[in-house]
């Protein structure tokens, strides 16, 4: 998904894309890591984001409004390994699109294979690895989708601060997540030939396909954790389900961008999640970090369903592997 933003920078009046809802909720000891909206988190689970919707202004000149609606389906193959499919439908408002009157369609399909590498409940620590692929030519041509596939090996981590000393008990509900990926296009260059409709002259645009370092994460303060693991302050029930969160998602060009005026781009996303037993809802602002990342503050919202809780005996359990091991009494 990160590479789509890079493409928008390369091709000018195309679509600017932010990563949408590739997170997964996860329980690690006392800690519940919620699904995040923008920066992918380390969770591996059965779940469905239906939908993740965002509205923001692109970095194009002139800037245009872009509406993205994404669906993410994550299915565990084993307890530690999941496959994720995420189609995203985009609408560019005028003067966007190739003719300046807007454009709509699906973006290139994105898939992720994610494996939970390490999980430590005592220290609320989890590490996962994954391979994200954005598949060439699977989206609408009117959106100028990439004609090459991009593979992004990715490292994810999450750490809850529940093991802090008593003197800073108030900080124990804090948790951080991080994601680091290296986006590798399947082709090093893209060549596009266009003919002038009047003269018939053909011009050839031969541009490199840069490699990007994708990085980001979240800082979150869990009110459920505060109530059930640190200090029950007797707050209203609604408050006890909230997780204020700030996410960040950035892309830094690393190589193969000679001649292109590329900078680090991305967004900071402050917002809040409401977490229930079987679903969560979240809303965040989309704040571009510079002019190359967007021209005004946008918004992103998500409804996220926990399939492992909704359908624990059918689609909410891993395909392979025995039944969940019962907890042994002390």
């Amino acid at each position: 998904m990160f590479t789509r933003l890079a493409r928008a920078i390369l091709w000018g009046p195309a679509l600017a894309l932010i990563p949408l809802g590739a997170g997964a909720h996860e329980i690690v000891g006392n800690r519940f890591f919620p699904a995040t909206l923008v920066a992918d988190d380390p969770g591996v689970n059965d779940e469905l984001s239906l939908p993740t919707a965002s509205l923001f202004k692109t970095s194009d000149v002139p800037s245009v409004n872009e509406l993205d609606i994404a669906v993410e389906f994550s299915k565990r193959i084993t307890d530690d390994f999941a496959l994720i499919v995420q189609p995203t439908w985009t609408h560019l408002y005028a003067p966007g699109g190739p003719l300046g009157n807007g454009a709509s369609g699906f973006q290139n399909l994105e898939t992720t294979a994610k494996y939970r590498l390490y999980k430590n409940g005592e220290h609320e620590f989890i590490v996962s690895v994954g391979l994200v692929a954005e598949w060439a030519n699977t989206g609408a041509k009117s959106l100028s989708v990439d004609t090459f596939t991009t593979y992004t090996p990715t490292l994810y981590f999450g750490k809850g601060l529940g093991d802090l000393p008593d003197a800073v008990w108030w900080a124990r509900p804090l948790a951080v997540t991080g994601v680091f990926g290296y986006a590798i296009p399947s082709r090093s260059r893209t060549i596009i030939a266009t003919a002038d409709p009047d003269s018939g002259d053909v011009t050839v645009d031969n541009s490199p396909n840069p490699r990007f370092f994708n990085w980001g994460g979240s800082i979150q303060y869990s009110m459920p954790y505060l109530k059930t693991a640190v200090n029950d302050l007797g707050l209203p029930d609604f408050i006890n389900h909230l997780i204020p969160i700030v996410e960040a998602s950035l892309q830094t060009p690393v190589s193969n961008f000679a001649g292109l005026d590329l900078k680090t781009t991305g967004t900071i996303n402050p917002g809040v999640l409401w977490v229930g037993n079987t679903f969560q809802v979240g809303v965040e602002a989309i704040v571009p970090v510079n002019r190359q990342s967007g021209t005004s503050v946008g918004v992103i919202a998500q409804l996220h369903l926990y399939l492992d809780d909704l359908f624990p005996t059918t689609i909410g359990k891993p395909i392979f592997g025995g039944p969940v091991t019962p907890a042994k009494p002390f």
Binding site: N30, T228, N231, L303, L305, D309, V324
Partner: protein
């Protein structure tokens, strides 16, 4: 149906899915998490968000030195009760591990204080 209506309908889905089962997580306890009680309780009571499997759900209470100060736990529905000996003033930690009726295992811990 307009795009706005479709999006509104999708975000209304939680209304129809609130009756599903889920992980059993701690909802609240007595003594309350992180709070101080004046005198020793006779038991620690834990309320969970889902019904528990009694045979595979338990809890322990330990004192500041790690010694167990609780007796056995009993489960009724989504409530677990752990008997404790007369507790002198100090900080105590409750460790719980439960299996919900939909076979999800969860665990956690928290502290409370007596007479401080």
């Amino acid at each position: 149906m307009s795009n706005k209506s479709i999006i509104a309908a999708l975000f209304a889905l939680p209304i129809v899915i609130t009756q599903a089962s889920a992980h059993a997580t701690l909802d609240h306890s007595d003594p309350r998490v992180g709070n101080t009680v004046k005198s020793s309780p006779s038991a620690v009571t834990l309320w969970f968000t889902q019904k528990l499997e009694p045979a595979f759900s338990s809890a322990q209470v330990t004192n500041a030195s790690g010694a167990v100060v609780s007796s056995g736990a009993s489960v009724s529905g989504s409530v677990m009760r752990v008997g404790v000996r007369s507790l002198p003033p100090g900080t105590y930690r409750v460790h719980w591990k439960v299996l919900s009726v939909d076979t999800h295992t969860t665990e956690g811990s928290f502290s409370f204080r007596v007479g401080q």
